[in-house]
Symmetry: C2
Subunit: 445 residues, 2 copies
């Protein structure tokens, strides 16, 4: 049984004697590749490199394949050039595709040269698709037979070797076009002379090489099959997308969403070098700074008012943050709906109306609560009424922005998970400040 990862990290980080490659080897020998990859990602860079050196060369490729790009690139960077031929000695097209973004060009050439002719074809085929397309992630370990094959040939094929997560034989015609699939379990027990065609599955979904990875992966996940066939535009069988790859692609999709909400990408390394990490995050801080200055500029328009009614300055954060929270709730719901294909132009209007109503209800409730608190705090009825109106207005505006923004960004092919929240908060900040200070100028001066 695998030692729980946290325990092992603890051991390796605290016990300096385990810098000794032999000791590490013993500890890690029984673990799977993902375990080792996760461990390496969890270690500070120097310790990570020390352990990386201790991993046998014939496992290094498999471990690299399982790592995220950022932590992986550090290891690739520090691996002596003369080791690569050994590391790549058993490389296949799928491994190289997985590593593609992390390898410098000269290493891609070294790896490509190690592929056999068939794998080179697979590699070139896959690189014709972008990494957001299914064709890029196709597996070539298949059970394929001609359309006229019999159960006998099916059994022979199965006895020889069944790849993992493969529960169907694909039947292709003479031009290599996908025709049908037969479940392995239907092949056992069937009479040997029966044509496989008589056992085919009805309605097995086929994926196109150009299909988008997340929706295709969800299709694999819910299909009940261990993998689905992937074909090109002329229906030629390219390979299959199996449920493990599908699940990994879905995991990546979600990680991208989670990390994007803070302006980072899913490959961010826990222990990336400080310079790199600071640079990755600086852009997001910079964009945010522009929006913050924009909000400040609007506040600056009301300097005279603020000077006379300091209570407005004290309460500004309340107005801004209630709008920000209400808006981000709507935004999050709509972004998820868009990602799952549930939000479309057809139900957009109905969604807008519902979110407006929710915003209205919460707007009224919280506007009253805040108005009353402000009244008692500053003993000023008009101030209470001003903040009450500003909050109501901002929460309703937040609902509108929360529905419209992601849909518009999506239409502009901008990921709403990434930029949605920063734009939304800018809108709610500015609307909130202007409404609050504007009303204050009208009624309190």
């Amino acid at each position: 049984m695998a030692e729980p990862l946290p325990d092992l990290i603890e051991e390796l980080v605290s016990d300096t004697s385990s810098d000794d490659p032999a000791a590490i080897l013993t500890t890690l020998a029984g673990q799977d590749d993902v375990y080792i990859a996760t461990l390496l990602e969890s270690l500070p860079v120097e310790r990570r490199l020390a352990i990386w050196e201790g991993i046998p060369r014939d496992r290094k490729l498999d471990v690299l394949v399982e790592m995220r790009s950022d932590p992986r690139e550090i290891l690739i960077d520090r691996t002596p050039h003369n080791e690569w031929a050994a590391i790549f000695s058993d490389i296949e097209a799928e491994d190289l595709l997985e590593l593609l973004d992390s390898l410098p060009n000269r290493l891609v050439d070294v790896a490509y040269a190690e592929l056999d002719a068939q794998q080179q074809v697979f590699f070139r085929e896959a690189t014709q698709f972008g990494d957001a397309e299914v064709g890029h992630w196709v597996s070539h370990e298949l059970l394929v037979l001609p359309l006229n094959a019999k159960v006998r040939e099916g059994l022979r094929l199965i006895r020889r070797n069944v790849p993992s997560h493969c529960d169907t034989i694909f039947l292709v015609n003479r031009s290599g076009q996908f025709s049908a699939a037969v479940r392995l379990t239907r092949v056992f027990g069937a009479p040997e002379h029966l044509p496989l065609v008589e056992l085919t599955e009805e309605n097995i979904p086929t994926l196109k090489g150009r299909d988008e990875t997340t929706s295709s992966s969800l299709q694999v996940q819910r299909s009940g099959y261990a993998s689905l066939p992937v074909v090109d535009d002329s229906n030629k069988l390219l390979g299959r997308l199996d449920i493990t790859s599908a699940s990994e692609l879905i995991n990546e999709f979600y990680e991208r969403q989670v990390m994007a909400s803070a302006g980072m990408d899913e490959d961010e390394d826990l222990f990336s070098p400080v310079a790199k990490s600071a640079k990755n995050r600086a852009l997001w801080l910079g964009i945010n700074l522009l929006t913050a200055f924009l909000a400040s500029w609007f506040i600056g328009r009301f300097e005279a008012t603020l000077q006379q009614v300091v209570a407005l300055a004290v309460l500004m954060p309340v107005v801004a943050s209630m709008g920000g929270i209400a808006g981000s709730q709507t935004l999050t719901l709509i972004v998820r709906g868009l990602a799952l294909g549930q939000v479309t132009s057809a139900n957009f209007r109905a969604l807008m109306i519902k979110e407006l109503k929710v915003g209205g209800v919460n707007g009224v409730i919280w506007a009253l609560v805040i108005g009353i608190v402000a009244y008692f705090w500053f003993s000023d009825v008009v101030l209470g009424m001003v903040i009450c109106l500003a909050i109501l207005f901002n929460i309703v505006a937040a609902a509108v922005a929360g529905v419209f923004l992601p849909v518009i960004l999506d239409k502009m092919k901008i990921d709403p998970a990434l930029s949605g929240s920063v734009i939304l908060t800018t809108v709610t900040d500015i609307v909130g400040f202007v409404a609050f200070l504007g009303l204050g100028t009208l009624f309190l001066l």
Copy 2:
């Protein structure tokens, strides 16, 4: 082939004639359950109910099982009581477990009565585990043989029926304890009289009923097996966790994270009734309001300063938001690391140092930029220096909070994905305002 979901939603929402159940039935008959479930979730409530009525009774259960709790509960609520016996007629323990949270008690009783004796045992067994434990989600469609079985018996079992996503036969001893697993592919082609024990897999991981679902699901996903055995504390075989269930559990984990960041749960319905939706979100707005008032209270301590230097009020949002963004970047990274088991007490210190350095670098850069902008904007050197120091201080504090907060919350068994961001922003708001206005009071009055 399935019509793309958005097109169908478009059609159903815009074309009122499709209220006719017969037309809907024709459109949906060829679609799988997840497709229909997703479609129902995408429709406004009245339209959703109209279509729900048109779905044949024998499919209703399967569709319900695939839906999220919130949208599902609306349908359950509006289904006439006399329909339930028919809907539940083929129910199994797993379906009932999936629906458990959504069904009123009286319907749980109706459904339980429809389970056969064996399924009732499975149901009671599973409910002894919480829904964050693997034991709750175990599948009972298994291939099981006694430890002394031969290949012949294995082949007989396989020919009878192989459940989907099942690639191993489990061998158990006389007390029903799990002993070993044999891959189906090793059974074909092996001599009929060979004991299965000689073909067993080495090192197949077993899951415990009490194991946490997300980490166990990741283990299934990376195991290379279509499912892993699940045992109880005395090693008795409870069932298996297959890769589809594992993937769904992982999807739910990620959705929980995404939705939690806005204070919602993953079952939130796109079209839940306004009252329910407003109520769900009100709590989060209320918590946030308390923190906003807290920040206001701190600002209020500096009323006298604000009155004299209005520029401070104008620039407050800049200080707060830079801290908030920097902190949420660190927080997001650490929360993900915790969820994946990569952040532990062992590497905590190293992480803290790295995040402090990143915060220091970005803090210095942005503090200078903002200081210079503020100087030119308000032609005030001291103001520039004050905001410069406040920004630096707040970004560094944000890094500390971003690392400590999630780890502390995690230790307290509070989900850091849910409460982390609201606490973090409170910290960065207050630290930012106090540092900025405090320094302003010291140097600008």
